[in-house]
Structure formats: structure tokens, C-alpha cells
Amino acid sequence: MKKQVGLYYSLPQIMWLLVFFAAPLGIIIAYSFLKKGLYGGVEPQFSLEAYTAMANPNILIVTWRTLKMSVIATILTLLIALPCGYSIARSQNQAMRLFLVIVPFWTNFLVRIYAWIAILGNEGFLNDIIRALHLRSESVQFLYNQTAVILVLVYMYLPYAILPLFSTIDKFDFTLLDAARDLGASRFQSYVRILLPNIKSGLVTAGLFTFVPIFGAYAVPLLIGGKDSYMLGNIIADQLTKTRNWPLASSISMTVTILTTGLVFLIAMRKPREQKQVFDADPGLITPVASGGR
């Protein structure tokens, strides 16, 4: 009897997952195996065309570029987030500092992208300062290249890395660091050999939280990127809105989803061998589907 009641309790959750996760995913899968309609949409006819079309060298170039940029952006994000999370965890007023990390979320992300354009532009604030200091007479071209895209991506996803890292480091027993120092480790050694292995799960979570959405980035490369910054998210959007090839958009989305889910599984499978449970305890670690919207 009890078990049946439990089912009712979880019904809202199951419905939620079915309607907003399984059904859209099912539609994407189905569309990727259909023939494309001449004017958008699909014809009810089985076809593998969308998958063979992916062998196109252009798409492979973009996939490789997206992978490269996502890895670089993720590593940079972690390198910045690690000391941030550490300092928040050791700080006297954690609440205030966490609050400051969350504040940017209150501003729409598009507004924040345009803010970066205002800062980095040829006629932007940064160039104004450079000219005022007479460092350069001509303005420096900061925007519209891969570096700018990576910079803004790091900015965008930094909080997603700081928060899980903070929650892991916060649980770390800092007296272990003192013990390591007592036993002759240098300050640096104590961090690398004692702190890092103990917060591995937080690093993994932070890495996934940044890598997965960055891999599907759309708006940042569109607005901040230049001729060399066309990413997978942009290809998917263009297939839908410009070239009327819905099956191809679906098949690329599927591939992205499978790649990222595979990555999550691969990492999650390794978990049981480790002692720390933080990764498992993190709620809601569901791979964002495909482009992730940003």
C-alpha cells in the first residue's frame, strides 16, 4: 500500500520530467530521423540524411572549434573560481560574499552581454582609458574574436563554478592544511596535495556546470564573436531559422546532447570509488539538453 502512495507523491515530478524533458527530447530525436520539409518542418518519411549531412567538413570544423573554446573557457573559469570559492569559504561574512556572487543574476544576461560590448568596443570605456593614458593612439580591437568570446563566457558562467566549489571547500577540514604544514609540506604543496584531492568532486561539478552550457553557447558568440567565432549553438539556430533544415538542427542537437550526457555519465560512473559524497549530494545535476538556451 505504502508504495502506491509514494507514486502519487512523485507524480508531479514525473509529469514535469515527462512534459518538459522527455517529450521535447523525443520530438528532437524523432525529427532528426525524418526528411526535411522544403519550407521548414519535416516530412513524415524516415531518413538518415540529417546524420550523413553532419559529416560535412564545415560542421566538423565548428565542432572542433566549439570543443576547444569550451575547454579553454572551462579551465579559465575553474582557475578563477577556485581561489574565489576558497576565500569565500574562509571568510568571516560568507553570506555577504555569496550574495555578491549572485547579484549579477538579477540583470538579464543579454543586458550584461551588451554591457561588455560597451566596455570592450573600439569606442568603449576600456579604449577611452587607454587613449586617455596615451598608451596607444589608435583604439585596440578587443571585441569580435575568439578571445573576447571566451572572456565573456568565463564571466557568464563564473558563478556556476564558484557556488559548487564554495560548498565543497566549506565542508573541508582546514586543520588538515595545518597538519600538512606541520609535517613539512610547503604552503603550495599543502594546497595541491591535501586541498585539491579533497575537493575533487566540487571541481568536477563546477567543471560540468560550466562546460555543458558553454558547449551550447549561442548568444555570446553571436554578439561578441566575429568571423572566427561561429559555434555549434549558432549552427543549430541557423538551421532552424535561416536554412529551414529542422532535421539537421535536431541531429546536431542530439549529438551535442549525447556527447555531454556521455561526459556526465563517464564522470559519474567513476564516483563510487571515491570517498567524498558531495558530487552525489548535489541536486539537479541533469545535463541541459542540447544548446541549453544560451
Partner: protein, 351 residues
């Protein structure tokens, strides 16, 4: 009409306004009729809509889209509440084929005679205008910041100038940019000849692209207004909406002498419209000379479709109707669109 994209931000603002409009429409007790219009972002001035509402005692709900593809996809997906929409020529023919349009009773349009016969003659996407009434014909052109660039040829070849490298921008729009290159090479903007398409692709890839800052259909006007770029291919109304009025004198907008792809947007009544009569009245209202002149003045458009409105226009236009002479209407190329897709993808993906 991609040219009316004014950045995602503006779209969000407009979405908010639309929501408010819908809400106010609901709150009004709604005894009066409501006309549902699905239109390009910034394509009919509010003042015109308000005059129509006042004169006929109705409410107008004005929702917006940013591209033909978006409009078409939404209507196909069952957004069937709309009465009127504004597709470009290629999409008029597609929507006729798909049976999405209602025939228009032209005998009820008193102002049909105001429409330029030369424009009507171009409507081969709907012979005899059985389903569509021209709204506006125009073309993207090139805006130049005259304080930075003094000597230039009014030609697409401006994009080949290495001295302006990284200070020029073109639309992220396949048919527009490919069409410019095809016209420059002396071909049709609707060609399906693979060799000609390849030639255009190589011209863009090897000669124009190295000098471009980027391809951008979202924020090109903002970049131009901010002085980020000095030469921008795009739509006049977007450019001048962003540039400060005080600086308009420093901007030259021209349609290159070789011509380019032009567009002809039409008003159509959707199948299943519950307000066919009101929709007809709206179409007729638009072509009243004084209303059409008001619409054109608002955007700085020349009065391309309506003849008597030309004499009533008070403001200046960014280009003249004659400038469109060498331009060619974009048409639906059907399955051959794949050829354009492949060429454009090669351009966009880059190294």
C-alpha cells in the same frame, strides 16, 4: 524583413509592449472587435495603428516577428488567431501554395488604385494580386560614416577596400549578402547556377570577408551608431533609428549602383481570420495617401508602393524609389536553396 531586426533587446521591449497590449485588450470588456496583426518589428508606426483604432472603434493587437522563417514557422505551428501578416514576396508564393491565405476582394479596396502599377507588375509571386496587396518595397543599402570615410565609390566594391579593414560590417543574412555579390558580378540574385553561386562565394570569402569586422544582423546599427564600424551594409531604418538625429548629416546611405536584392512585403489575410472585413478595412486604410505618407515619413522611407502619398510626404527619404531600378526582387528558389546554404556555411564557418 530582416532589416527591421534591431537587436534582441528591442525585441524584448516590444514583446513586453505586445503583452501589455494583449492585457489591455482583455481588460477592455472587449465588446469592440479586435484585429490581430502579425508584423515585422517596427514596421507600422503606433500613430497609424492608433488612428485606425479610433476611426473604427476597434482594438488592434500588434505582435511582431523578426524574419519570414519565424513568422511562417509560428503560423504553421497553429498560431491561427492572426488576421493579417506581412510576408515578403517569396513567402507569399509559399503561403499560397500551402493554402494559408484568404482571397482578397479588391472591389472593397477603395484605395487600390493608389498603388504604383510598376510595383503591382512586379508581383509575379501572386499574379493579379488575388491574395496579397503590396505594403512596401525597399532594399538594404550601405551606410557610410562621412566623418571617417571621405572618398568612396557608391558600389559594393567598397567592401574590397583594405584600408577600411575591420571597420566594415555586413548582415548575417545569406540571401542578402550572396545577392550583393551576385549583382556585383552581374548575375541574378535568384540564380540557381552552381558556378555563379561559387563565384559569389569566393568573392565574399576572399575579397570582402577579410575586411569585415563580422557578419551581424542583430546589432549592426548599434555598432555603426557607436562609431565601432564606419561602413555598414544594412537597412536604412535600422541605421537611422540608432544614430543620433544630430549626427544624421554625417551619414550617407546609398543603394550601390550595381543594385542588390530588393524586397516587396505584402499584406495578406490569413485563412480562418474571424475579422476578414476589418482586415480589408485595415489594408485599405494603409493605402490612404495621408496614412501611407505618415508611415513612410516615420521610417524615412520613400513612398515606393503608393503614388499619391509621394506628394504628401513631408520628411526626407534615405533613398529614392529610382535607386531601386537596378535591384532585383528576391524570389523563392525552392530546393535550390541548398546551394546557397552550402555556400553561406562555407563563408560563415571560416578558418
Amino acid at each position: 524583413m530582416e532589416r527591421l531586426r534591431k537587436g534582441l533587446l528591442d525585441f524584448l521591449g516590444f514583446a513586453l509592449v505586445s503583452i501589455l497590449l494583449v492585457l489591455s485588450g482583455c481588460g477592455g470588456g472587449s465588446k469592440s472587435k479586435t484585429l490581430y496583426i502579425f508584423n515585422w518589428t517596427y514596421y507600422t508606426p503606433d500613430s497609424v495603428i492608433q488612428k485606425f483604432e479610433k476611426e473604427y472603434g476597434v482594438k488592434v493587437v500588434y505582435d511582431t516577428f523578426a524574419s519570414n522563417e519565424e513568422m511562417f514557422a509560428k503560423l504553421k505551428a497553429g498560431g491561427s488567431n492572426y488576421d493579417i501578416t506581412f510576408p515578403s514576396g517569396d513567402y507569399v508564393s509559399i503561403m499560397i501554395k500551402e493554402g494559408m491565405l484568404e482571397k482578397i476582394d479588391k472591389s472593397k479596396l477603395k484605395n487600390y488604385g493608389n498603388i504604383d502599377p510598376a510595383v503591382l507588375a512586379l508581383c509575379d509571386f501572386d499574379p493579379g494580386n488575388q491574395y496579397s496587396i503590396p505594403y512596401y518595397m525597399g532594399a538594404a543599402g550601405v551606410a557610410v560614416n562621412k566623418t571617417k570615410v571621405q572618398n568612396y565609390d557608391k558600389s559594393w566594391s567598397i567592401f574590397a577596400r583594405k584600408d577600411l579593414a575591420n571597420r566594415m560590417i555586413m548582415l548575417d543574412d545569406m540571401r542578402e549578402v550572396m545577392g550583393d555579390a551576385l549583382k556585383y558580378l552581374g548575375y541574378s540574385v535568384n540564380t540557381v547556377d552552381q558556378k555563379q553561386i561559387d563565384e559569389a562565394r569566393d568573392l565574399i570569402n576572399n575579397v570582402w570577408k577579410p575586411n569585415l569586422l563580422k557578419f551581424d544582423a542583430e546589432a549592426f546599427a548599434k555598432s555603426f551608431a557607436a562609431g565601432e564600424v564606419w561602413v555598414a551594409q544594412g537597412y536604412a531604418e535600422s541605421i537611422f533609428a540608432e544614430v543620433d538625429k544630430a549626427n544624421w548629416k554625417d551619414v550617407d546611405f546609398f543603394i550601390p549602383k550595381e543594385g542588390g536584392p530588393s524586397y516587396l512585403d505584402s499584406m495578406v489575410i490569413l485563412k480562418g481570420s474571424k475579422n476578414k472585413d476589418l482586415a480589408l478595412k485595415f489594408i485599405d486604410f494603409i493605402h490612404r495617401p495621408e496614412i501611407y505618407a505618415e508611415f513612410c515619413d516615420y521610417f524615412g522611407f520613400p513612398s515606393t508602393a503608393n503614388v499619391p502619398a509621394r506628394a504628401l510626404k513631408k520628411g526626407e527619404s534615405w533613398y529614392r524609389p529610382e535607386d531601386l531600378l537596378n535591384c532585383e526582387l528576391k524570389k523563392d528558389v525552392g530546393a535550390d536553396l541548398e546551394k546557397y546554404n552550402a555556400a553561406w556555411q562555407a563563408i560563415r564557418v571560416g578558418k
